[in-house]
């Protein structure tokens, strides 16, 4: 089936202690640890979501990226909950939390860490926050594969399984981290670029 044109109407990238929204640097903080950086960003943007404190680092990173991505960019009223979905990937799955959980089992296994020992929990956190009920998927890949993400999300949009999709990568292992989320819609906005493999790769390098 011919894939129609879809649009990247917003993007958020978090890496190297900097947050970019639509390619513009909107936050920077040289906090030594990732956890401190994420808490600092949470405070800076004035988010109010106590559950954030309980999330593991991977979910904190993905949740924060989704909040920045959607803030002032997402026309929530245009979509029914089941029309919005999420397609994410990373290379390290939930290994960062798996190791912390394993360490906790040496004394008292932590139930609150255990619930984050799957990488797709992050999609659940974003869905719960925004009341999204559409298809969601989380893929583990050796390297970020923009073409795969483009094909998979494109299929969901082409077949009207979704009308809007959040795609990208969210990865954490110890102090190494990367997040890139893009908002894909069927209609463009003033700031849109075409949803192509090259444009995703370009955003991933900025």
């Amino acid at each position: 089936m011919h894939q129609k044109d879809y649009y990247i109407t917003a993007s958020c990238r978090i890496s190297n202690q900097v947050i970019h929204k639509d390619r513009q640097k909107i936050f920077e903080d040289n906090k030594p640890s990732l956890t401190d950086f994420l808490l600092s960003a949470y405070d800076h943007f004035g988010f109010q979501y106590p559950k954030f404190y309980k999330m593991d680092t991977l979910s904190k990173l993905g949740w924060l990226a989704s909040e920045v991505l959607l803030k002032n960019s997402f026309p929530q009223l245009h979509y029914k909950p089941e029309e919005v979905g999420i397609v994410l990937s990373n290379s390290n799955a939930s290994l960062d939390t798996d190791i912390k959980y394993f360490d906790s089992t040496k004394e008292f296994a932590s139930p609150s860490l255990f619930v984050y020992t799957l990488p797709n929990i992050i999609t659940g956190e974003i869905c719960i926050r925004n009341k999204f009920k559409g298809e969601n998927a989380f893929f583990i890949q050796e390297r970020f594969d923009a073409d795969f993400i483009k094909q998979y999300a494109g299929y969901l949009l082409n077949n009207n399984i979704l009308q809007c999709c959040i795609c990208g990568r969210v990865d954490v292992i110890q102090e190494d981290y990367e997040a890139l989320l893009v908002l894909i819609e069927k209609s463009g906005t003033g700031n849109h670029v075409l949803f192509t493999t090259e444009n995703i790769q370009s955003l991933n390098q900025k």
Binding site: Y53, S110, P111
Partner: protein, 87 residues
């Protein structure tokens, strides 16, 4: 103030990562779940771990959970009862 109650409040805030709650803001008889402090089922498991970790008490009967973890005061009463039994 009762030391056990104040210790429990600090331990609950720490164990459950309630960074937006101060221990002194938790009422002795304030419900911990739903309409009170808003804890959830995972928090309930963490409270069971807290009892084991800090007070060496295992919740023998899971059905007792809602009564034991109703408030900080009911937790303190349960701890005192079991510590007396252990003496």
């Amino acid at each position: 103030m009762d030391t056990l109650l104040s210790d429990l409040k600090k331990q609950i805030v720490e164990q459950l990562n309630l960074q937006d709650v101060k221990p002194e803001d938790i009422g002795d008889e304030q419900p911990l779940f739903v309409e009170g402090l808003g804890l959830d089922s995972i928090d309930a498991l963490e409270l069971i771990v807290l009892l084991q970790q800090h007070y060496k008490i295992k919740l023998a009967n899971a059905d007792e959970g809602p009564k034991v973890f109703y408030s900080v005061k009911t937790m303190a009463d349960y701890i005192r009862t079991h510590q007396q039994k252990a003496v």
